[in-house]
Amino acid sequence: MSAQESTLELPTAREAGRSPALQAGLHALRRGGAIIAFFLLWEIAPRLGLVEAAFLPPISQVLATGWKLLLNGQLPQHFAASLVRSAAGFALAIVAAIPLGLAIGRYRLFAQVVNPLLEMFRNTAALALLPVFILFLGIGETSKVAIVFYGCFWPILLNTITAVVTVDPLLIKSARAMGLSPVRLFRKVILPASVPTIFVGVRLAGAVSVLILIAAEMVGAKSGLGYLIIYSQYNFQVPEMFLGIVCITLVGLLINALLVTLEHRLTAWKRNGGEA
């Protein structure tokens, strides 16, 4: 107990003598230190000849290439193409899967009828179907958006069904005791109670949307970050290839940050009103 207390008190005692600026700097270092170290290693390793610079160019060279492609408009074009495709497929999946999941979760008979089918589709890897999508929809935008839609659809649908089915039965009983009609019960109780679990599916789908899009763009596309990566690799433009990879990370981070913000808003009640 006393040992625990002393370890807790030590940092504050030490930090007391430091200036705010220094403390802020230390805080930044603690949060970003690992990332800085990683990029430093990326920069230094090829320069020291620890890895073949032709295969792993220093990050500065990747960024310089990025700047060049940014100025000539290639990077914005690929970036926008990818972002639009994944956002469109993702948004369509949300719009389609949430209502369907709510309906399936609500009506037991419907759930029993469609469940085996859903189970089958869920276990069919989206990328395995990519050739089918290309066959039917060509290599244009439609097939890309469709495959992203397909990949995002399942995690959202299944989590929505789970969310509705697992709403606390006591809350439902309480609402029924208040005489709420089925429609009101759904709107006022089941829907808000389902939001956190539905969001688990939405965030999973966010990650899936990037993953599937890149694979799809590598197989058949004329633009997009996946295309940039695979095309650069074929042409041995290694800095461009790494640039594509870095940009994909950025897209992933961007989508995740958006979803976290949205989730924060929708579930504000979990934290709101100051901690009591």
Binding site: G179, L180, S181, V189, A193, T267
Partner: protein
């Protein structure tokens, strides 16, 4: 409104079918509760006391016999009856105020002003004015239960049903809320029916204690509690009632329930 809230239960029978054989949960229940009366129902688990409340609140219409509120037959849930369960069952995504407002969702009788007034009055009645914008997870068990009481009362029902409302609370909070409930009962003047397995609680609160017996669930007897309020729990008369009622359970057929019931009495 002052004299409304007469609850009349006549020849009430209820059975469930378990594995094809009918199981009587309530047998020939007759009980007449006056407007504004405070009735508590005690009994070992399985005596059907919670089932009885379910039928009165209207969550279950499958029974024979009559349940009449002010001469009208009860069917389905209605604004004239409110219920509080052992678990508070507040909606975690709504503030205290909004939770209480959900009680009014079905109310077409009140004007918007009346609704607002009722919400405000009942928040004040349960003493949670400062907490109206707090969320349930920020409240203690006792505070949550007070919100649940306010929510049940916000339609100004004629009868308030309480199903072991303080069963999950610690002894101090329980005693405090028992006094609160008596205050609310005298201020609102509505009929109260409270189910409990705590004999002391039953005596402390009630004008009349209904003792129920299990298998099949039936009323063993009804005891008038003729004590002025407040009732000191260690007064001779109080203890006599307690001994008298405990004797009912000593002759029951499930010793484990009696033991559990007796152990739950706060010392």
């Amino acid at each position: 409104m002052a004299q409304a809230g007469a609850l009349e239960i006549r020849n009430l029978n209820k059975h469930y079918t378990v594995n094809g054989t009918p199981l009587n949960v309530l047998e020939n229940i007759n009980l007449s509760i006056h407007p504004g009366e405070f009735v508590t129902i005690v009994g070992a688990s399985g005596c059907g006391k919670s089932t009885l409340l379910r039928l009165v609140i209207g969550l279950d219409n499958e029974y024979t016999g009559d349940i009449l509120l002010d001469e009208r037959r009860i069917r389905d849930t209605g604004l004239d009856r409110g219920i509080v369960f052992q678990e508070h069952r507040l909606f975690p995504w709504l503030t205290v105020k909004k939770n209480i407002e959900t009680g009014l969702l079905n109310n077409t009788r009140f004007s918007p002003e009346e609704k607002e007034n009722s919400v405000r009055e009942h928040i004040a009645l349960v003493g949670l004015g400062e907490f109206e914008s707090a969320y349930p997870h920020q409240l203690s068990g006792g505070m949550s239960q007070r919100v649940a009481i306010a929510r049940a009362l916000v339609n100004r029902p004629e009868v308030l049903l309480l199903d072991e409302p303080f069963g999950a609370l610690d002894a101090f909070t329980r005693h405090f809320l028992q006094d609160e409930l008596l205050r609310i009962s005298s201020e609102e003047g509505i009929t109260m029916v409270l189910v409990t397995h705590d004999i002391e609680e039953a005596i402390y609160l009630a004008d009349r204690v209904v003792v129920m017996q299990p298998r099949p669930g039936r009323i063993k007897r009804v005891v008038d509690i003729d004590l002025p309020r407040p009732r000191p729990r260690n007064a001779d008369a109080f203890v006599r009632y307690k001994d008298d009622l405990l004797a009912d359970f000593a002759t029951g057929d499930r010793p484990e329930d009696i033991l559990a019931g007796a152990l739950e009495q706060p010392a």
